[in-house]
């Protein structure tokens, strides 16, 4: 029988010690709409909906955190972007807010306190803090200054900016960094326990390690140093192995990893440096049988659980298509196989 609170469990894990049970983070967001019988658009229209949804899911799936990610594009919405809602997937940005690179010279970061989209998120954090107090971590999200331009200007134009216009790239990073720090600290002040710094462009899936060291790495290190609380980096299902030693020097405590890479190799690379988060494949999850689910979870725990420093999670936001019974099966498998000291692991 688990005796620790989720908060205790997670913080012991972050110090690379074995706790009572492998912590479980499910990156469920839209599933809250299913819980409340609402459309995704209606669900994300009010902070109170997200508070109710996250609490219901935290209890139902026995997860060790709640998260306050409405949708990744909420930050660009704060910059003036328009959101498109779907009935079966995450809300997206309709079109870039930077149409030509010269627009960067006129771009200003939004005032976090005055932004309606961000107000919802801040209120959701406050609501969750009132309910949970210190029983479970509240994970708030920011998109890194280095990755948010994919939404701000389109991926192709942003890649060209990185390689071909260092001056405007630097200007954009300064604007985005100021916003990222302010938004992160506002979320921590509202009651968030930890910031998840989403940074897929830093992944070797997108850029070479050489370019990462000149760009994303420096930006992460500088930004994280000014965030007034613990930070975890997430590469949103991008590869990580070639840059793990570098990421460990940014100040992050956690690294969110991809199903594309072997969990044993990831654990070896992260051991005693950063806590490994991952790496269940959310894309195949909708089709998992209950037996498969237990096998996959057991296998993940065997590979990465021993010694602590591991949080079981999916490798990206949980797709809306994943059925409840699979999420329950993941939770049940953690209850069955995740109790330390993991004597069954050879």
């Amino acid at each position: 029988m688990s005796s620790n609170t989720s908060l205790q469990r997670v913080f012991t894990t972050l110090s690379h010690k074995e706790t009572d049970k492998v912590p479980l983070f499910l990156i469920v967001t839209m599933h809250g709409a299913k819980e409340l019988g609402m459309s995704i658009k209606e669900y994300f229209s009010k902070a109170s909906n997200v508070v109710k949804g996250q609490l219901l899911m935290h209890e139902k799936y026995r997860t060790d955190c709640v998260n306050t990610m409405f949708y990744l594009a909420v930050e660009v919405e704060a910059y003036g972007g328009e959101i498109i809602y779907y009935t079966d997937g995450p809300p997206n940005l309709l079109k870039p807010i930077i149409r030509k690179k010269e627009d960067i010279k006129r771009l200003t970061s939004p005032d976090v306190k005055e932004s309606k989209p961000l107000e919802k998120v801040i209120n959701a954090i406050g609501g969750l803090k009132d309910e949970l107090q210190d029983s479970a971590p509240i994970i708030a999200l920011v998109v890194s200054p280095f990755s948010i331009p994919v939404m701000q200007m389109g991926f192709d134009k942003y890649i060209e900016l990185i390689y071909e216009d260092k001056e405007l790239f630097t200007t954009l990073m300064e604007i985005n960094q100021e916003f990222c720090i302010n938004y992160s600290n506002a979320q921590l002040e509202a009651g968030a326990t930890m910031i998840c710094y989403v940074d897929p462009v830093s992944s070797p899936t997108i850029i070479s390690r050489e370019l990462y060291l000149e760009t994303g790495f420096k930006i992460a290190k500088e930004t994280i140093s000014k965030i007034n609380g613990p930070v975890g980096i997430h590469l949103a299902s991008g590869r990580a192995l070639p840059i793990i030693d570098d990421v460990a020097q940014t100040g992050t405590l956690v690294l969110g990893t991809s199903s594309l890479e072997d969990l044993s190799e990831l654990k070896n690379a992260c051991r005693n440096k950063i806590t490994l988060l991952g790496n269940l494949n959310g894309n195949t999850m909708p089709n998992w049988t209950l037996e498969q689910t237990e096998t996959i979870v057991k296998d993940a725990i065997a590979k990465a659980g021993p010694g602590g420093g591991f949080i079981l999670a999916d490798h990206h936001e949980t797709p809306f298509q994943v059925p409840e019974n699979v999420l329950l099966a993941i939770s049940n498998a953690v209850e069955k196989w995740g109790n330390y000291p993991l004597e069954w692991v050879e």
């Binding site: 498109i84 779907y86 079966d88 997937g89 995450p90 997206n92 940005l93 309709l94 079109k95 389109g154 991926f155 192709d156 890649i159 060209e160 990185i162 390689y163 992944s203 070797p204 899936t205 997108i206 850029i207 070479s208 370019l211 299902s237 590869r239 199903s259 594309l260 494949n281 959310g282 894309n283 195949t284 909708p286 089709n287 797709p319 809306f320 298509q321």
Partner: protein, 215 residues
């Protein structure tokens, strides 16, 4: 006279380093010895294909693929007019991002197909199933390339394929994008005819489908 394939390794390295100066040097060297068509078929296309395969193995980043394709397209436009490399009697090929606004994959494939002499009709991003059916019917599209980033969009391909079959069109669908990388069976589940792991594979599939059309 050296063989053009001796330049591939150097050219590929310069592309991955985004070294425009070195790329231009190599292009100028080979221009003196080889015909433009040969430069495309035996230098540019193989180099881009190698780079694409390296991405699949996690050795290079997507940004390098994009820039390599962009630079090759820029040089191609200066080297030769598209009319001269365009494939003769080409079947109608179109590309789209279905109900999704993430267009990078589509852009990369378009550039690579262009450098290989294929003319592609671009139906854009965020297009609905209904609009796509209207377009492919009107344009008599025989091969439709669909790129998606989101799982929900990938799943819609099943509805698209059903409508194509209902109407009796003979359009073959090649799919690509992140959902298909993470779930290697997904292309079959949604009823696609083919799956391209990367842009280079998409080109090989097109060639396979149409039986290697010449220019």
């Amino acid at each position: 006279m050296s063989e053009i394939k001796n330049y591939i390794k150097d050219f590929e390295k310069a592309l991955l380093q985004i070294n425009r100066i070195r790329i231009e040097e190599i292009i100028n060297q080979v221009k003196e010895q080889f015909q433009p068509i040969q430069i495309i078929d035996d230098l540019i296309s193989p180099a881009l294909q190698n780079i694409g395969n390296k991405w699949d193995k996690g050795i290079v980043g997507l940004a390098q693929i994009y820039m390599a394709a962009r630079i090759c397209e820029d040089f191609l436009d200066k080297l030769i007019s598209f009319k001269e490399i365009k494939r003769k009697d080409q079947v109608k090929i179109a590309i789209a991002v279905l109900e999704d606004y993430h267009g990078l994959g589509k852009t990369i494939i378009q550039m690579l197909l262009h450098t290989s002499g294929y003319e592609i009709i671009d139906y854009g991003i965020g297009i609905s199933i209904e609009d796509l059916i209207t377009h492919i019917k009107k344009d008599n599209i025989e091969i439709l390339l669909i790129s998606t980033l989101m799982l929900r969009s990938a799943l819609k391909i099943k509805n698209l394929k059903e409508k194509i079959n209902e109407i009796g069109l003979n359009t073959k669908i090649i799919v690509g994008g992140a959902p298909f990388i993470f779930d290697r069976e997904l292309w079959k589940t949604v009823g696609a005819d083919y799956y391209g792991r990367n842009a280079s594979e998409a080109i090989q599939l097109i060639s396979q489908i149409i039986g290697g059309q010449s220019r």
